[in-house]
Each structure stands twice: as C-alpha cells, then as structure tokens.
Symmetry: C2
Subunit: 145 residues, 2 copies
DNA sequence: TTAAGTGCAAATTATTTGCAGTAAG
DNA sequence: CTTACTGCAAATAATTTGCACTTAA
C-alpha cells in the first residue's frame, strides 16, 4: 500500500507551507496538515481521498472527509497535483504534475509511477482537425505473476 | 455525439445474434436489441450505459437501465466488449476489443478511436519484477481548438 | 472585517443487488 | 422443467453541496 505518508514534523510542515505558497493557496490548518503528509518528505505520492483521509486520522490530524475532497480538488486547480483516472471507481491524485506514465496494479488497485525515461512514443496519432492534444495518459496495467 | 446507433432491422438483428452466439451468450430479447444497436451495422461503438439505454428507448426497444448495465457487464465478461475508464465519472464500453488508443474529447466527454497504425511505442517501461503487463491504455485527451 | 475555508449531513451520480416474475434451452 | 435473465426498487460507493460556523489576510 501507498500507506506511507510523511510524518508531521516542523520540517514537513515547512515544506508543505512552501508548496502551498508557491501556488498561492491559502495555508489553513487542514491544508497544511494534508500538504505536509503529501510532500513533507519530498517524495511523490499517489493518493485517493479516502486514503489521505485515513492517513490524516492516523497521524492525529483533524480533517473531515469532505474537506479532504475539497482540498485535493483545490490542489489540482492550483496546479499542485493532477487527477488520474484509472478504474472508474475512485480518483487518484498525483503530487507529480509532469506528464508521465503509470503502473496500475490490478490486484491491489494501487497506482505508482513508471519510469518516464523508459517510455518512448515514436509516433502519436495527430489530433483530428479542429482539435488539439491536451495530454496523453499512459496507464500500464500490471498484475502479480 | 455518438448518438447514432444501428437501426433495428432483420439484418442488424441477425448480426447481433451472430455476435452473441460467437461468444455463447444467451440471446434474450433485450440482449438481441442491444446487440443489434451496437454491432448491427458493423461499426465500432463507444457507449455509456445511459447512452445505450436512451438509444434503446428511442428506437422503441423495451429494456430497463439495470439490464443495460448487467448486459454490458455480461458482454465484457464474454469478451465481446471492453470497458474503458477515462474520466472517473462514467464507464465507456467499446465494441472493439483490440488494444488500441482512444481520443477523449474533453469538451463533450466523448470517446472515439484513434488510429492504431499511427501510434508507435518504441520503448515501454518493463513491468516491475514479480509483475507482468496485462494491458497498456493510451488515452489522448483532445479539446476543441 | 470579510471573503474564503471547514464540517457536518443531506444530496447527487453511477452502478450494483435482492428478489419475485419471465423466458430460453 | 430448470436455470439464467429481467425489472423494478432499494442499496452502495464515490463525490459534491448547502449552510451555519470559523479563520486567514
């Protein structure tokens, strides 16, 4: 599981605060908690709303589930995160906003980064006339063998 | 809109019936209706449950929404269709079961085929050890320009 | 002080399920 | 006949929203 989140420390709170201020997102208490869980140790994360909510609860942070949803949405709007849709059930939110491929583990329903450097798209269908490509999502579905 | 479905004719019903029997799916009245709307003219289609349900209603076929859901699921289980997840909101079902790329129209939320021949993936990240790749989904998000 | 953020609980949306009735093999 | 399919309505699951309250700027 991507159950591991950054610990809440002065350092992680500071990193969270920087992250928020870079995008001019108002640093409320709950946003600081969530931000520090997400980026407090500099690692990229792929989380679901529910997962982040539970992590916050475990670390003793008080945030409501609705706020977690609203906050993740706000982080995406601010360009701090990207939403990734994979299985139609839940949304995943990625702290890394670069366009990069993902592994989706069908057994555990987890999402993780695939090395961008190892993906090479030699040719891509051109957008139909009157349209432009806004993003290309590549999801590599894997299963335990 | 992918609102156009095949008309219900003897010919389309027959094609639908063949399609079902190829996969050994029991040809009930509602399955035949839906099958002939979907593949009755030999075209590939990308539908949502709701969309197919409305199309059936418009053509005077009587099917319940729950049955449309169950039927699409049954068609997927039988290998006749594939489910494609794109936006987390609704599921799309594709009558073409080959692994091929899609265009997703962000404005209208429609899904269409992208020419497979124009996609060339020169290198793909290898599956992490202990895992094997089951499928690679490529969604090219486009928007009206 | 004031617009923006938060927490509930209630509302929505997409989809599934239970169960009694209906039809295919 | 017998098992699978269908329809409806009720159940779920993920997410959003309305509204009174709190807080950052």
């Amino acid at each position: 599981m991507d159950t591991s989140f950054a610990d809440i420390t002065d350092r992680s709170m500071e990193m969270g605060a920087n992250w928020l201020s870079r995008a001019q997102v108002r640093p409320t208490r709950q946003r600081l908690s969530l931000a520090s869980l997400l980026v407090g140790d500099g690692c990229d994360r792929h989380v679901t709303a529910e997962g982040l909510f539970m992590a916050a609860k475990e670390k003793g942070e008080s945030v409501s589930l609705a706020t977690v949803y609203n906050t993740l949405r706000a982080f995406c709007d601010a360009g701090l995160m990207t939403e990734i849709t994979v299985d139609g059930q839940k949304s995943y939110f990625d702290t890394c906003t670069d366009d990069h491929p993902h592994f989706f583990w069908e057994d555990s329903q987890e999402l993780s980064d695939a090395p961008s450097a190892e993906l090479e798209i030699a040719r891509l269908p051109k957008a139909p006339e009157g349209a432009e490509i806004s993003r290309v999502d590549v999801i590599i579905r894997v299963r335990r063998s």
